[in-house]
Symmetry: C2
Subunit: 590 residues, 2 copies
């Protein structure tokens, strides 16, 4: 029906007749003439209706916001002084000659340019919300991102292969969504948390290079950036080691940023061990744009006469570290109180600090409630290691290493933003040399840090000796500006190694057979060495569009209680349907 998109009308079409279709963004009557800003996916253009075509004018008079119109008219230059340089179409306007109202519209529940519409309303009337230019841009960019990713992978021999959605509970650790089976009463399918095992089976099936942009499901209590269903770019390849995979993946992401944002990333990406990331940034996904680092002090605090420091320093699971904030001397008492409350969220029981007023004045030049507990030698170490200068402030964390890392790691990021220290641009890195296992205090056993199919840095099962906490895996995470974009690993490809790892995880033979029998079988019949990675597509799109919420990069997201205000899903189902499925709803206690 149209000859051009509204947003594509510009001086190249001067004096040409165009047919446009779109929504009334705004109608103004001015000087006896009607101006309509007509909007479509590609933008806005101004259409003018003169009273000398009375029929058309009368029609134009009755249109309202969000009416859907088809307009035929001639493109002309706007009168001098009325150009709008903010609009790509702002040098021209269309003189309307024909006008058809394709559909009327009631006054929408909110204006498209309203800023503070509450999110429930936005989601309920998502079809109005999606018309906002910001949402249009985000979903268009998302489509461009998947397009570039697909093309890169296809050009590199990766095959798009679909894996089942109705499958068996997988061991990703989160809660599964389950689907009752009608034909197998009492049994349930699980919706996949990831296609991990299927992609490994595809490698065993000789598909060599696989990718899929695939929906995954987790029935978790939703945090700000989680959704019950999310999308993963899932990749697996045979006969390639971690160097090969990481190299190809950073090439892919470099290409993506170059094509979509015209901001190529510098390759090869920096590599950093997990241990180094935790030591320097308190995080396994450090935001390298923030020029603040943790300083190790555990080794010098063991003997100080201050239990808050000496306790953790002597605890093998403890850590004492400092975080120097340049010019932090400017912080007020209240600022420091606020940061103390902030780190408390991460379990820190306080936030000790030293203000460095005048280094030349010795102890007199320092200001701190804890200074009196620290001997000179320790003070010298603190100032020397942190590289403190006059005007700085040094924060301290002392607790279990986990608490110190989480609290100072988060504080580092917060200070970076609060103090305007975040550098511009993209700072990608790979975090490598992850521990194979981490000890779960609650469960009292070792857990896989990634998943139990991750290969260890060991040639043979016999090499898996010593402390499980010290074994390294062949996993790798791609991190960008503090966000984990993707994580992957080389996988275990022999039965013996897989059984050994299950053993260390306390998964007995019977349980292994019950849960992963088909995988153990498959490993026996000719499994190639293989590995892969999965990227969180929603998070990648958030990062590239600068969105604050995952809900802003999905067309029809759910609320934080996993409810869809638009369709009102989930909903009750007829009793007969439940009967067919052989289930019943449990009565709620009154």
């Amino acid at each position: 029906m149209r000859s051009h998109y509204c947003g594509a009308v510009n001086e190249s079409l001067l004096d040409q007749e165009v047919t446009l279709c779109g929504w009334v963004n705004r109608r103004r009557d001015h000087g006896g003439v009607i101006f309509i800003d007509l909007r479509d996916r590609e933008g806005l253009v101004q259409v003018v209706f003169d009273p000398d075509l009375p029929d058309v004018f009368v029609t134009a008079e009755r249109v309202r916001s969000e009416y859907v119109l088809a307009v035929k008219g001639r493109v002309r230059r706007r009168p001098e002084g009325t150009e709008n340089p903010d609009l790509p179409t702002g040098a021209v306007e269309v003189l309307g000659r024909e006008l058809t109202v394709l559909n009327a519209a009631e006054t929408p529940p909110f204006q498209l340019d309203e800023d503070d519409v509450n999110e429930e309303t936005r989601l309920r009337y998502r079809y109005v919300d999606l018309r906002r230019p910001a949402m249009q841009t985000r979903l268009q960019l998302r489509a461009r991102i998947t397009r570039v990713l697909r093309r890169f992978l296809e050009d590199n021999g990766f095959l798009d292969i679909e894996t089942p959605m109705l499958t068996r509970a997988t061991p990703e650790g989160a809660r599964d969504y389950i689907v009752p089976s009608r034909t197998h009463p009492g049994s349930f399918f699980a919706l996949p948390q990831s296609p991990q095992l299927f992609k490994q089976l595809l490698m065993m099936g000789g598909m060599d290079r696989y990718y899929q942009i695939v929906r995954c499901f987790r029935d978790e209590d939703l945090r700000a950036d989680r959704q019950p269903e999310f999308t993963q770019l899932d990749i697996e390849t045979s006969f390639m080691d971690e160097e090969g995979i990481m190299g190809l993946m950073e090439e892919m992401v470099r290409e993506l940023f170059a094509q979509v944002l015209e901001e190529p990333l510098h390759t090869p990406f920096q590599r950093m061990s997990y241990a180094e990331a935790m030591a320097r940034f308190g995080s396994d996904k450090p935001d390298l744009r923030i020029p603040l680092e943790l300083t190790e002090l555990t080794d010098v605090m063991g003997e100080v006469d201050f239990k808050v420091f000496s306790g953790p320093a002597k605890d093998p699971a403890g850590r004492v570290a400092a975080l120097r904030l340049p010019k932090g001397g400017e912080l007020s008492r209240k600022d420091i109180d606020d940061y103390t409350a902030f780190v408390a969220r991460y379990g820190a029981r306080g936030l000790a600090y030293i203000k460095v007023n005048d280094l030349n004045a010795g102890r007199e030049g320092l200001q701190s409630p804890i200074l009196k507990f620290l001997p000179d030698t320790v003070v010298v170490e603190i100032l020397g290691r942190t590289g403190a200068e006059d005007g700085d402030l040094i924060f301290f964390g002392a607790d279990k290493a986990r608490v110190v890392n989480e609290s100072l790691g988060a504080l580092r990021v917060k200070l970076g933003h609060d103090r305007g220290l975040v550098e511009r641009g993209w700072k990608p890195l790979w975090v490598v040399d992850f521990p194979m296992f981490e000890y779960d205090e609650k469960e009292g056993r070792w857990m896989a840090l990634h998943h139990p199919f991750t290969a260890p840095h060991a040639e043979r099962p016999e090499d898996l000796t010593g402390n499980p906490g010290e074994m390294m895996s062949r996993a790798y995470d791609m991190v960008l500006n503090g966000t984990e974009l993707g994580g992957g690993s080389v996988r275990i490809h022999t039965t013996a190694m897989q059984q050994a790892v299950f053993g260390l995880l306390g998964i007995g033979e019977a349980e292994a057979r019950e849960k992963f029998g088909f995988l153990l079988d498959a490993l026996k019949y000719g499994c190639p060495p293989h590995g892969g990675i999965a990227f969180g597509l929603d998070r990648l799109v958030m990062l590239m569009t600068g969105s604050q919420s995952i809900r802003d990069v999905m067309a029809f997201p759910k609320t934080q209680t996993a409810h869809c205000p638009l369709t009102n899903a989930p909903a009750e189902v007829p009793e007969a349907q439940l009967r067919e499925l052989n289930i019943r709803i449990k009565k709620q206690p009154a």
Copy 2:
């Protein structure tokens, strides 16, 4: 790890050293030399191990079928007389210099070249089955098909937008798979049977052109060509009428066949009304490769003294038709009995026929048990209308039109195949001018032939008068060689029309509001004219790969009882999980 795929080793690499990775397809010891056919995704190549490298030779001696190897060696011409012209690599072989066993393999549960492995076994060991060249080819072709489709649509401005999987029961008519909600006790999500309403909402949201390759779900009793989950190429566009959509879609399919099969389809596709398709072929998805047609006889049979014909001819819902089979005189009594049994499956209570032995001999030249019931004028009409020639056989169908169409339509296809009449090549067409509604005898009410959002051939709701059975819709089906590839329609875009259609379907205001309130709301706030189509991707891939079963074009299909022999899904889930979800399993009667 590899320098080349096995299947890519050819004369262009003569005298070069290559590194290959793959599976042992076969090992032969011949004349003191070991020959290994090494296989990967791209094909097979012969690797030779001489005893003059004893270490390598010893390793080669112990490999077995399906071992995973890395081989380094030099490409050389095969000795004269030993070339294999059936193999793209058959002119060369690789003289192995290094050999690493990457993984051993137990004897696989079946040989890759076994033809009659039962399907349960193939699915249980799918990772072995997928290594068969036929499965590799099919899944690779499937990936190429989606790639070409995506690129065509993206180049035409269609945006790939994801719609929810956890959603609300939709009105497609089949049984939904449902997912209990943990956060809303007693409520359930439904897995989508199609994203129909979401894609319409995207049009209302101004996305203009949408596509998605999307998983859909139907909990149906599985027939040979059905799966609980299947894949749809889903498309919707605004401001385009049926001509625009059909034109673009046939261009897409033409492009697909040209690129993937190098067999371009002739465009524009033939158009045929539903009425014509039923009249001439007894089917709304006629296979135009078969040069047989039904001949209308209802109008001449009303007065014959033969109730089997005159009854249906006088019944407004009846039909009498003939199907002429050229050279059908060759059929034996047993052949005709078999075809009579065949049409009985479609409800036909008999299969009358006339053998045309000698047209010049008048009645004497015809042979038929029913001839005596038919007056000369009628016989003349039959022979004239069918264009009968000496040696032909004419079958008759007389019953409710539905029975005649289904039985003679199926007989037509069967005769075409049995008698070798199927023409080569691709015969696409559009079936158009579908009825809006069909009467459901069981339910005693009108049902939407497509779905209730399909626009009628009527400008305004007031035009929806008269017999609902005679209203035409703006729907279109793309049919290729007897398979319905896709179906779509222009949609209703105003509240008034949607309410009128709901009314004709007996959906009252309360029910409409309860089930489709959000759609009715959305129509009010500026809905553009829009339409779309959905293609069954699995069926398209079946057709293009010449596969007989939908399970052959999916990586991990389920059996006909919706069970996965590989993972053993569906499975029981722990009681605690059901408790969290607020459901319980109903006890089965003993």
